[in-house]
Every structure is written in structure tokens, then in C-alpha cells.
Amino acid sequence: MRLLDAVVQGCLLGGQYALFAAGLSLVFGVLKVVNLAHGDLGILAAFAAIGLAAGAGLPLALAVGVVLVGMLAVGAALHAGLLARTTGALPQISMIATFGLSVVIGNTLQEVFSADPRALDLGSFGTAGVTVGGISVGLLPAAVLAVAVAALTGLHLVLTRTAFGRRVRATADDPATAALVGVDARRTYLVVTALAVGLAGLAGIAYAASSLVTPLAGPSRLIFAFEAVVIGGLGSLWGTLVGAVVLGVAQSVGSVVDPSSGVLAGHLVFLAVLATRPAGLLARTRVRA
């Protein structure tokens, strides 16, 4: 029973990782950029929401809405100000640039909010739960998983069913040829980056609602997101969800075996997948497919 409980909790935890991983996967799949500031952007959104809700006294829903819209703008600015200037150069350049941004965001947050852990207070909803067959399921983690599945489904539908999605896939495949059939690659990249950072914001807010956050928590979120993306298969949206759930279950089951080894168990599963299936578990269903 403890094991089954751990698997259920791990699946729910996977929802949070999937939200972080979705944007990372999207930007990598389309711009071929590994955004090392992705986790920190999520934490930025988390602290912005905490600041607006707890500090400025805004209603929670309004604070979250304002932050999410703000994160879309941050994403657009990230592309226009940083990524657009580094694409076409060596891929390492954009990695170094986003690494620098990661350091700046983390330390600025620490300067403004201090290093104290904080959380986004959802009131009774944050701790409410139901017990199904002896297993307790928290409403909040279930909601986060549902939001993650909805976000990935929405992203999938946009990419496969809309003209914008076709432009994104064409640009991901061959930006020069996409340009020749009238697709503005710069604009496509900008919108994709804005969406990805918006997703990072959603993930950061979900994280801050579920547990305590510190200003320097970004890199650990990035690592989990990165592991989820790699386990699932680079550039594969459904793979990202599967990878996130596998990682969550590994961490959760690992904690049952030894309470201090949960994260380690996740890393070991990541390494095992990398060693045996380097293309990921669902390598076929690509973002481009």
C-alpha cells in the first residue's frame, strides 16, 4: 500500500515537473536553444505572485493572472533582447547568455526577497484532499497535474491543428525555407519564447503553491525539467509528460525506500534512460511530427 501511495504521489509530482519541462522542451524543439534560465524564470513568477498577493494584497486570482501576462511579456523581451541576438551564433553562446540570466534572476530575487523560503498561500484548498481506496490525493497536486495535461494537450493541438502551429513546425524544421514561403521566423520564435516563459511562470506558481520556494530554487527546477525532457525524448511533448511522471514516481518511490534518497533515485533513473535509450522513451512523437 505504501508503494502504491508513492506511485500515486509521484504521478502527481510529475504534473509539476511536466509544467516546467513543457516550456523548456518547446524552446529547445523550435529554437534549438537550451534555456538555462528556464527554472529561474519560473521562480521569478512565483515570487512576483507572492509579492502581489501577500505583499500588495491583490486577490490571488488577479495576482496570478497579472504575473502570467507579465511572463508572456518577459518571454517576448527575452527573445528580442537576448535570444534573437545569439541565434545563428554557436549554440553555446545562447546557453552562456541564459546561464548569465539565471544567475542574475536568482541573485536579484535573493536581494529583493531575502533568502527566506516562502509559499503562495492558497488557503484551505492548498491542503484539501480526498481519500480514494485508502490513498490520499491532494486536490492541489491533482489540479496541477490536470493543468499540466491541459497545457500539453493545448500545445499539441495548437502545433498540429493551427496555421500558427504549422508555421512553428516549419520554422523548427528549416527556418530559411520557412522564410521563403512567407513565414516570419523572428516573429515565430518570439511568440514561441513568450509561450514557453508563460508556461515557466505557470510552473513556478504551481510550485510555490505546493511547497516552499527560495530565490535560488531555479536551477534545481531546471534540472528536474531537463531530466523529464530527456527521459521522455527531446522535442517530444507527450514524451515530456511521460518523462515528468517517470521522474516523479522514481523520486517518490525512492523516498519510500530511503527518505533522503528520493532525488537521487530520480537522477539514477535519468542516467539509466540516458544509457539505454539516449533518444528518450517516446523518441518518435516529436514536436515537429
Binding site: 504549422r166 508555421r167 528549416d174 521563403l180 511530427a289
Partner: protein
Amino acid sequence: MTASLAGPDVAPALSVRGVRHAYGAVPVLQGVDLDVRSGEVVGVVGPNGAGKTTLVDVLTGAVTLQEGRVVLGGDDVSRVRGAVRTRHGLARTHQVPRPFTGMTVFENVLVGATAGGVDRATGYDRAARALVATRMTALANRPAGALGLLDRKRLELARALALQPRVLLLDEVAGGLTDAETDDLVDLVGTLSGQGLAVVWIEHLVHVLVRAATRLVCLAEGTVIADGPPDEVIASPRVQQAYYGGPGS
């Protein structure tokens, strides 16, 4: 300015004036002038190194124009980015086809057909008509990555036609095709030009162009050395000399 150069009728669909281009110290185009009117199929030939590929790059905006002007349907696009030139009515095919391999044939065509604020119904209609024109309808739902060479070339053509261009640039499109496939292509280009499309066809297979083109232009060492009916251009001593060397002007 363009109107005075275009003659009394209408502005040419494509007008190239005084285009010069050099890679570092090496001049490649040394003052190219070219007018292509609606309904014309202008074949561009020339020995290796004549500047054909650079001319394509200048027309499509793949390289930044150093000197001269490119005018599409009366709009000076010399300083316009390649992605935006399609909106001025220019479309092209690649020498080596470059389909979006992760998409179906229909989706490939739809990307261009629905770009630039075209509404959904119009875009789908354009895409469908481009597939009919290139006889690709039976393959519409195939993944483009699974197509053979001929079908990839037809897809390139369909994708270009879906943009509803006024000027179509064909870059070495006949290479690797059988005689029957080439006949098909020549027929298709003839039909399209009959509907008013201006075609610029760059090709090293001169015999194909002699059949397909209404006018032939020969480039050598970065300038136009002959421009006229295909038979006359092929027979011209300057063209013969450019291709085969020997004494001449």
C-alpha cells in the same frame, strides 16, 4: 523610374537593374539587367561560374544586394528581406528540394498558403489548387519526408504555387528527372505561364530550356551576353564561345 524602363505597355513582373555583387574581392555579377514580363518563361543559362546561383540569391534576398535594384511588380524590393519578398509575389524552388520533412504534403503547402494573414478557407483553397496543378493530390496526406526525388520536386513547386506568385523562380528543377517527367514539367510550366505567371528558370540542362523558354538569357562572367529567342541565343557566337572557349570577341 521603372515605368520608363519598362516600355509602353505594363511594368515587368520582375525587373533587375545594374546588379553587381562580389564575394570579397571576387566580382561575380558585374552589372546584370533583366526584365521578365507576365506570361514569359525566361531561361537563364551560362557556364559554371557565370553567376547564375548568385543571381538567384540576389533575387530571393538570400544575399544582401550590394549594388543595383530588384523590382517586383513595380515595388523596389532591393532592401526587402527574403521572407517579405514572397508578399511582393516572388516564389522559388530549390535545386535540392527542402520539404518540411516532419509534415504531410498538404501541411507543407498550407504553410505558405495560409501565411501573411490569408483566411483559412482561402488558404486551404489555394493549397488544394496548388496540389491539383502539380498532380500531388493523391499524396496529400503522405509525410513529406517519405517522398522520392520527383515528388519532392513537385512538392517544391506546389509549395511555391500556393503562394500565388507573380514571379516563379525555378532553380535547376529538371536535374535528375527522366525525359517523360521533364515533358510533364515543361507542360506544367507552359500552362502556368499561359495563366499569366512570369517564370525565371535557371538550368544547366540547356536542351530543356530551349523547349520550355519563350526567351533565353545567357550569363557569362557576371553579365548578360545574350538575350532573345532560344534558338538565336544558342546559335550566337558569343554564347558558343562562352561555353566552348576558342576565338571570339
